[in-house]
């Protein structure tokens, strides 16, 4: 098991010395996860609010579909997005394949149901007195939407963190759509998979440490926000 300990030591060295291939993968990961999270949150929050807040015909079925999408296999998303953005696909002309933008599309599809479903569950769990209170204080529809979201902000943050956890640790989509091209579409996870296959444990561990650090920082900032 010495190779693991050695790997850790080497990994720290690689990170401190600013190994360009490692930091390129880190940057690519931050770019695709931030973009996909931004889009999926922007679309998922209002959708989740509507699903959770309003009663409508087919709501139960929609929730079932959303919950099913939570467990959507990433390779399947990769396959479907690949089919759409490859040369034969209807979005083939946009040059999204083997590009970070293509990965963002796949990761957004992965994160959207997570944000939507958890937001919907959070909104459904709102105290029924809240809406009545807001209406009785004169709130219009826009105020009700924003105040409700603000009241369940910790639940919403949980949704976003969950979505972040999925997109930042995802391999299948990044590998299939991005192609794991060094200095271009290689992300932390695809790099770890590659380096492990090559027996380069130090590189893999270095990238793993970065991934864990990012997750830790995200959770730390969440705890800080909660205390506010």
């Amino acid at each position: 098991m010495d190779f693991i300990a050695e790997g850790f030591v080497k990994a720290v060295g690689l990170l401190i010395n600013g190994d360009s291939s490692i930091w390129s993968a880190v940057l690519a990961t931050l770019k695709v996860s931030a973009c996909s999270l931004l889009i999926s949150t922007g679309a998922g929050l209002p959708c989740g609010f509507m699903v959770g807040y309003f009663d409508f015909k087919g709501k139960k079925q929609l929730r079932t579909v959303l919950d099913t999408l939570l467990a959507l296999p990433t390779v399947f998303i990769g396959l479907m997005v690949y089919a759409f953005i490859s040369r034969q696909g209807i979005l083939g002309d946009f040059g999204l394949l083997f590009n970070l933008s293509g990965i963002v599309i796949g990761l957004t599809i992965l994160a959207f149901p997570v944000v939507t479903a958890i937001t919907a569950s959070t909104i459904e769990g709102i105290d029924p007195e809240l809406k009545l209170t807001l209406v009785s204080l004169g709130a219009g529809k826009r105020h009700i939407l924003f105040t409700c979201l603000w009241e369940v902000r910790y639940g919403i943050l949980t949704a976003i963190v969950n979505a972040y956890g999925r997109v930042s640790t995802e391999v299948g989509i990044a590998m299939m759509i991005g192609g794991n091209i060094k200095y271009h579409t290689r992300t932390i996870t695809t790099a770890i998979a590659l380096e492990t296959n090559k027996g380069m444990f130090a590189d893999g561990i270095a990238l793993g440490l970065v991934l864990i650090t990012i997750a830790f920082l995200v959770n730390l900032s969440l705890s800080f926000l909660r205390k506010q």
Binding site: E129, L130, L132, T133, V135, S136, L137, G138, G140, W150
Partner: protein, 342 residues
């Protein structure tokens, strides 16, 4: 302060939860600037009615007129003028100050907020320095209730609807809520509709009372309700047997009529000077409560006959001449024909 024209007019209101009828009101007027008490047992429809008056709930059928104009709810004309304090008020997850100014912010009213919050808090007996920066979870039940009331009073509403405002507060808080509500009416002409189980408190603040039972409205205030089971006797009469063995003879109900009401004016007290004649229902019970009705200056006397409460309305002189006091055993009576079914 009270004006003759109604601020609310409810016409043929029917409301259902699934198949169950929750409210059945043919006609109800609430005068502008009045203080109306709403009473009735749990599940009678009080909260549902208040939500409708707040335009937070649309009736299944019927029309609600506000200041003579039919309103279906959520229009800014009524939304910003009517406010409801629910039984368990929800405080937003922010400070007391931010909770109180929430309604003003919605109205884009940012003028002199600190001074207005100070005034609103003082009206409900809370100190600005001590409470304004407290968070929602740092308040007791009574304090939360008063903060919620302050958040409504700061809006100077045309209508203030209070649902069980003193259900979970101590005597001091109840008195503060009473004083603040009365001041709102006296200062701004606010119309008040208050639902409460505490009849003594309710009668001390309200000018007129309506009671609700199973969704049916009794505009004459608290009345004696007799519920089933009833035994049919075959001569267009039926019998209600009380737990202690006493039996009441009532005229038979019509179709779909399940409960009987005996109006206050139809219940008599037997005395040596006025002994009951044959054919009258005679019941013995003890006086459980006596309440002064502010507007009429009459006393409402509740007499417990086994598991049934009978309510009479007597003048103070009559109370004196009969020597009535809580705990005294008296004999009541009413004619079988005097019951109304609903």
């Amino acid at each position: 302060m009270t004006q003759d024209h109604p601020i609310y007019h409810l016409k043929n209101i029917r409301h259902y939860y699934g198949q169950k009828k929750i409210l059945d009101i043919d006609d109800l007027d609430i005068r502008s600037g009045s203080i109306t008490g709403l009473m009735g047992p749990n599940g009678s429809g009080k909260s549902t009615l208040l939500k409708m008056l707040a335009f937070a709930l649309k009736p299944t059928k019927g029309r609600i007129f506000y200041k003579g104009r039919e309103e279906s709810g959520f229009s800014p004309e009524v939304r910003l003028k009517v406010t409801l304090l629910t039984q368990k008020p929800y405080l937003l997850k922010r400070t007391v100050f931010d909770n109180i100014i929430y309604g003003l912010k919605i109205r884009n009213d940012h003028h002199n907020l600190e001074e207005r919050v100070k005034t609103a808090l003082s009206k409900v007996g809370l100190d600005f320095q001590t409470f304004s920066h407290r968070k929602w979870h740092q308040l007791s039940g009574g304090e939360a209730q008063r903060v919620a009331l302050a958040a409504r009073l700061i809006l100077k509403p045309e209508v203030l609807l209070l649902d069980e405002p003193i259900a979970s507060v101590d005597t001091k808080s109840a008195e503060l809520i009473r004083a603040a509500s009365l001041k709102a009416r006296d200062d701004w002409g606010t119309t008040l509709v208050i639902a409460s189980h505490d009849l003594q408190w309710l009668y001390s603040i309200t000018e007129n009372q309506v009671s609700i039972f199973n969704g049916n409205l009794f505009p004459t205030g608290i009345e004696t309700i007799i519920t089933g089971p009833f035994e049919k006797t075959g001569d267009h009469r039926c019998v209600k047997k009380l737990t202690g063995g006493q039996a009441l003879l009532l005229k038979a109900p019509g179709q779909n009529e399940e409960n009987a009401v005996v109006r206050k004016e139809n219940i008599r007290i037997e005395s040596l000077e006025q002994p009951f004649k044959d054919g009258i229902n005679r019941m013995s019970g003890h006086i459980s409560a006596m309440l002064l009705e502010r507007e009429s200056n009459h006393v409402l006397v509740t007499v417990l006959v086994q598991d049934l409460s009978f309510v009479l309305k007597l003048s103070p002189d009559r109370i004196g001449s009969l020597g009535l006091y809580p705990g005294k055993t008296i004999t009541l009576g009413f004619l079988p024909e005097d019951v109304e079914w609903f």
